[in-house]
Symmetry: C2
Subunit: 221 residues, 2 copies
């Protein structure tokens, strides 16, 4: 894959993992946050050399050819509104989950069942190619899938545009994901399914005491 300009919205664990993977793969990566002087973004840039940069969410959205939404689900829509129209015509890889921690642990979902955050993002940005993926597992596995069972576990894609999903799948394969373990579930409404996996993920995490797990679908060819 040729060098790309990648934007990562969010400076948390997920954002750092994705942004660092982008640098490792030789891409130019801009990390976006609320403030152009964000300290976590500045620290990440300092650690990652000349191909790393940072700016506001709008700066990053303007710079990126492909954009990862790694913000928390409770702020995702506000963040995306702040990017102006810079996401128009671009692929937005949406990793966010609508986890609501305000009622205690484990979190509930602020939207689910008859809609999803992925759909709300697509509705907000009708000219953007939203692809929901990577939201079903922890950030270490997102970028190092071969660290578990040599990559023999599954990842899902949801999105309305087949070409965008194919491009995202190709990028994910450069992360280490096996093509035959990336399952295209269909349009963006299928994000309801993957977002609603989180409550079960959280309960498994609660007993397994590790986030380094994922599901492998048995019986699917």
């Amino acid at each position: 894959m040729t060098t790309m300009k990648i934007a990562v919205l969010g400076t948390g664990m997920v954002g750092k993992a994705i942004a660092t993977k982008g640098i490792e793969l030789g891409h130019l990566v801009m990390m976006g946050s609320r403030s152009a002087s964000n300290e976590k973004a500045a620290a990440w840039v300092a650690e990652n050399g000349d191909r790393a940069s940072s700016g506001t969410f709008a700066d990053a959205a303007a710079c990126g050819e492909i954009v990862f939404n790694c913000t928390g689900g409770q702020v995702t829509l506000d963040v995306l509104r702040s990017t102006g129209n810079h996401l128009s015509g671009k692929i937005l890889i949406d990793i966010s989950n609508p986890l609501d921690f305000s009622h205690g642990m484990p979190p509930t979902l602020s939207v689910c069942n008859n809609t999803s955050l992925g759909e709300q993002v697509q509705e907000l940005l009708p000219d953007t190619f939203v692809v929901k993926t990577l939201n079903t597992l922890n950030c270490n596995l997102m970028v190092n899938p071969r660290s578990l069972a040599d990559g023999d576990h599954h990842l899902f894609l949801s999105g309305n545009d087949g070409d965008a999903k194919a491009r995202v799948s190709a990028l994910l394969q450069t992360f280490g994901w096996r093509a035959d373990r990336i399952l295209d579930l269909g349009d963006i409404t299928t994000a309801r399914g993957t977002e609603m996996w989180l409550p079960l993920w959280l309960r498994i995490y609660g007993v397994a005491k590790t986030g380094a797990f994922n599901l492998k679908l048995m019986g699917i060819e």
Copy 2:
């Protein structure tokens, strides 16, 4: 396992699969339905010999030492209300899912996120040991887990009583479930997780065109 009296509430595919498995394992099985003269129950009894019987939901609940709820999630609470106090002190294995088909396909869940049908069943029957399990896969796999990857895939348990879960686990092992693939998630509130797996299960089913799949958790010891 010694011969038991098993009650199965429901005459659909799930009820028939569970009831027939009980007969195959040498148990006495009563299938319960709304009417003592239910034709599907009568046909099942005719096919399954002397150890098979049928009656009303209340008849079955009174007869069974252990009771499977195989009714549809939209009628489960009404069915259980009709069993009088015959479930008091007994284990109720709740397989139901709150699938609501009234808004089209795929179904949504009529309860989820901050409660679950499993919890509502336990609240309705405070003197019953409710164990939620088997609701995460199709009925053929419920009773023939070794037909897929020699049983190398996971099943979940949710319930408030450890002894009840241990007895259910032992029974499930006679179905063919591997002890090391039965994961106790914790109390009955964890049923939220397994019931919310259904929307993803349905989407996977939609693309896989088979229900003969299940998840194997990779990275869990």
